[in-house]
Symmetry: C2
Subunit: 205 residues, 2 copies
DNA sequence: TAGATTGTTAATCGATTAACAATC
DNA sequence: TAGATTGTTAATCGATTAACAATC
């Protein structure tokens, strides 16, 4: 099925399904059902079956879904059956925390470079990487054909850096800066902001 | 209007409106319109007017919305016209990055304690705070009547710690651990996971 | 076979949008 | 007054769910 026939809200749930399947696999399960997934994720089983049906029939009536097989299929669908090189912009506390995070690689992403413009930080080690000058960004992006970036710079620098990323051909930005980025429609932004989450929950307090 | 008549998806957007209004205020604007907000946020103006209308009429026909007034109203609606004390669990890289983040306080939240169970970390300084033993958590939560927690511990510890938080009466958890937490329906969880964001965008690559 | 669970359809439910009277 | 923009209604659109035939 062609990509843009799938509602975005369905795509939003696929990574959650994938994560849950990998969790069940770690529990040494081999088979699951739409009902089990639904219970664990707080959704309805019909929704899970419908979501999956946009991409094909991955289960067996009477049995359910083979976890390994469904993981493999979801990885293909999400394009994480390969590893994407990622540029990390910003070597502050947050940038360093992200650089140390071990969970990216097995989920389809590898940090290949970390950048900052503070002379003091350039050259210092962060995990396996060394902080590079922002001036090196265009060369690295070109050489490694990087299409994904993580933006972990202060709010006042974010708009400028984002424009630069777009100019260099980055088409997916994981944005940790607390501002709404303005990018062309062909560039995806996924925004992570703890304050938004806290304020959301505060409504219900 | 009573709280549970407002769709969750509307509440999800309110913090975004608030953040954008504060951004416009920083640009020295005093007045805005549903159209301007919509353009900046990539939504429709009708949606913004409808969302706000769940809570009251905050604008003036022919003029728009007074930014300061609407900020004040949204803060009240979201219950961030006060400051909530927050417990931060986990003093790893991520915990430290969060502890150093300066943006919480003016948005309604103040980190009042940071906990870890690693003897090496206990007592060390992180920003203005000193890392405390997890054993102190119950006392602190009780003494300060803390209702909000940020969970920044490794995946394998998250379920246990979350259960503890629930037991202590925490009712909002900002979860940075890459697992789906199982909590009672009266407890809110807002999940932040960079991998979910990256995988989501990878679908469109 | 009996029991279980999928994939799919049609019905329901709910969210978004278009349109406009009200009014600043 | 003329122009602009709100708040609200009704229509549209799209997502979720219920139900069940198919089938393992």
């Amino acid at each position: 099925m062609s990509q843009d026939q799938v509602p975005e809200i369905v795509v939003d749930r696929l990574p959650l399904y994938l994560r849950m399947l990998e969790f069940l696999k770690k529990e040494d399960k081999a088979i699951t059902s739409s009902q089990e997934l639904a219970d664990r994720l707080g959704l309805s089983s019909a929704q899970i079956r419908k979501d999956l049906s946009y991409f094909g029939g991955f289960g067996k009536q009477g049995t359910g879904y083979a976890i390994d097989y469904l993981i493999k299929q979801l990885r293909q669908i999400l394009h994480v059956d390969r590893v994407w090189d990622v540029a990390l912009i910003g070597a502050g506390d947050l940038g360093r925390a992200l650089a140390h995070y071990q969970g990216f690689e097995q989920q389809g992403f590898r940090l290949v470079a970390i950048f900052d413009n503070a002379p003091k930080k350039i050259g210092t080690a962060v995990g396996d990487l060394h902080v590079q000058d922002m001036a090196e960004l265009p060369r690295l992006v070109r050489e490694k054909t990087i299409r994904v970036a993580i933006l972990a710079v202060p709010a006042d620098a974010a708009a400028t850096v984002a424009a630069k990323l777009v100019e260099l051909g980055i088409c997916a930005i994981l944005n940790y800066a607390p501002i709404t980025l303005n990018v062309p429609p062909n560039v995806r932004v996924y925004h992570i902001d703890p304050v938004i989450g806290l304020q959301n929950m505060a409504y219900y307090l």
